[in-house]
Chain length 330, copies 2
């Protein structure tokens, strides 16, 4: 079978040329587990940091042989578990860039495909969606009248966060890079507004679209962006500190949050690590799946075909040049 | 009457020589208000920043004439308010370094002196006590089994915070400067332990006394100290960002909190401004006054006599060379 590996240890954000496809033996079906075929492979920003050993203390995959990690929707092709049968579809966080995977039964989660595209389980109903839901409903406790300001708003986490704000009776204002992403956020994700941070005078534009000071900030990008939001926030603003994408690949000083603004705004900041919410996946699905089925909550996808297309899409994702959730169909 | 004013605008933390005592006309009793004599004047660290216009956006007092602000316990000497009679004792946040004050009726709060020293209303039952209570009970929601780490632990805010932790079924570990303050914190405030941050190897000493990772951090000093605590904190630690005394007089870059630690620890940070809790003063008193009356909650005092002694005590306080709550008896 085919698998993609790193050519060498990475010294910077991964580019397409950092990967190579190799032939490896098909793994055996483990006792109590399954052999599964990858149908849809998810590419996510955290993988860029993970490949350099900079994510949650997990080691980078071995160059030349290690599995590039990623979530996937898989189809069971052989089962030695009473829980799974051949042909079942499942979601797993323990997948990677390979055609076939040996997986333990408890790393699989059954997925609902009744009126829901299987790929949605990588995005809006996958880990990014869970991240947005956890931040918005479990930490920030979004409700009627809230004004959310979220950056990387065209990304799956940001896009879902804003749509949840709308569906819960609040208003979402997004920040994204470039007119195409802003149009997606406004027209497809139906935020009240989205501001292009690459445009000159964008902070003035942000002030113009904010009809009231943000009561919730959902930070995905950087502490500089957080300071921009916090300086405009309402007193007692709730801040979800979810990700710092701009810092993951940077070698500068550690990211830090201005303490004076936290005190001055009486803000509450909450660090969010999505792993902590895996045990609430059922509650998340119960709330979000109906919105997905009805079309109230959507996420654009950048889909490519064939495992060999993964490296180039990963480079696009790392450069922020994607528009939607990045998925590789195998 | 006598009043103390600034000789000139301050360029650094106030010293005794920055003040002078002058004679001014006794103010008239305002319509609907009172004329009150200052009995006990509170000196508090925030006044140092306030005198330089660096506190909550309030202007510094005018050199040569402006009232140096401070809380006080006062006695009504003349009343044009139906709410107050000659001889009543009251607490006010609108006092200052003068013998007599013209005050509006609504800037006065009646005080409970049944088994409670009037001076306690400047410390443990005053604004510093309210600050500690708000942070511990309203923001961090301290409870059984919590481990509190608090710095400036010999100060009124820190000392009350730790005692509230103990009285609520938790454990308090303090950080303070010098053996005398640490002895006060351990022996009088009955913290489980107090570590002297001026001693060599103090972080190792801190690790030795922490029997479990802190679940609550109460920050009064600096973001460097906060990082020290946060790196040792339990996951989901609650952080009260109360004050940054070390930064108030500094002219360096703005204080900032390491974002990676907030996310890594899934910490919740809460900015605390005590003004927001003035409307909960009755709830605070109801909970804390019984502990003061029973002697379960105590704060040491540095008391000097005479308004003319205020400048030297202020200099002592600014240098951190006081041991207890600084009070001037008039």
């Amino acid at each position: 079978m085919k698998q993609i590996v790193l050519r060498a240890a990475l010294a910077a954000a991964p580019k397409a040329s950092d990967f190579e496809m190799i032939d490896v033996p098909t793994p055996a079906c483990p006792e109590g587990g399954v052999l599964a075929r990858v149908l849809h492979l998810s590419l996510d920003p955290y993988v860029g940091a993970r490949l350099r050993g900079r994510h949650m203390g997990e080691a980078a995959p071995q160059a030349g042989s290690g599995l590039i990690p990623g979530a996937a929707v898989v189809e069971i092709v052989q089962s030695r578990s009473a829980l799974w049968s051949k042909g079942d579809l499942a979601h797993t966080m323990d997948a990677g860039w390979a055609e076939l995977l040996a997986l333990s039964a408890n790393s699989l989660r059954r997925i609902d495909t009744d009126g829901i595209d299987p790929r949605a389980h990588l995005g809006v109903l996958g880990m990014p969606g869970l991240t947005a839901w956890a931040g918005m409903t479990q930490l920030a406790r979004v409700g009627l009248g809230d004004v959310l300001l979220v950056d990387a708003a065209a990304g799956t986490v940001g896009g879902v966060a804003g749509q949840i704000a709308r569906l819960k009776g609040g208003t979402a204002v997004g920040i994204a890079g470039g007119p195409a992403k802003c149009a997606l956020v406004e027209n497809v994700y139906r935020f009240a507004a989205c501001v292009d941070y690459r445009a000159q005078g964008w902070e003035t534009a942000l002030d113009a679209v904010l009809r009231g000071p943000p009561t919730i900030l959902f930070e995905n990008v950087s502490t500089a962006m957080l300071a921009t939001g916090l300086s405009r926030a309402a007193p007692y603003a709730r801040v979800v500190l979810c990700g710092l994408a701009a810092h993951y690949q940077a070698d500068g000083p550690p990211a830090s949050v201005p303490a004076g603004l936290i005190i001055g705004k009486r803000a509450s900041l909450h660090g969010l690590v999505v792993y902590d919410f895996y045990d609430r996946w059922d509650a998340f699905t119960a709330e979000v799946a109906p919105w997905v089925r009805s079309g109230d909550l959507v996420i654009a996808e950048d889909v490519v075909s064939g495992l060999e297309a993964a490296p180039a899409l990963m480079e696009t994702l790392m450069a922020g040049a994607n528009t939607g959730k990045c998925v590789v169909d195998l």
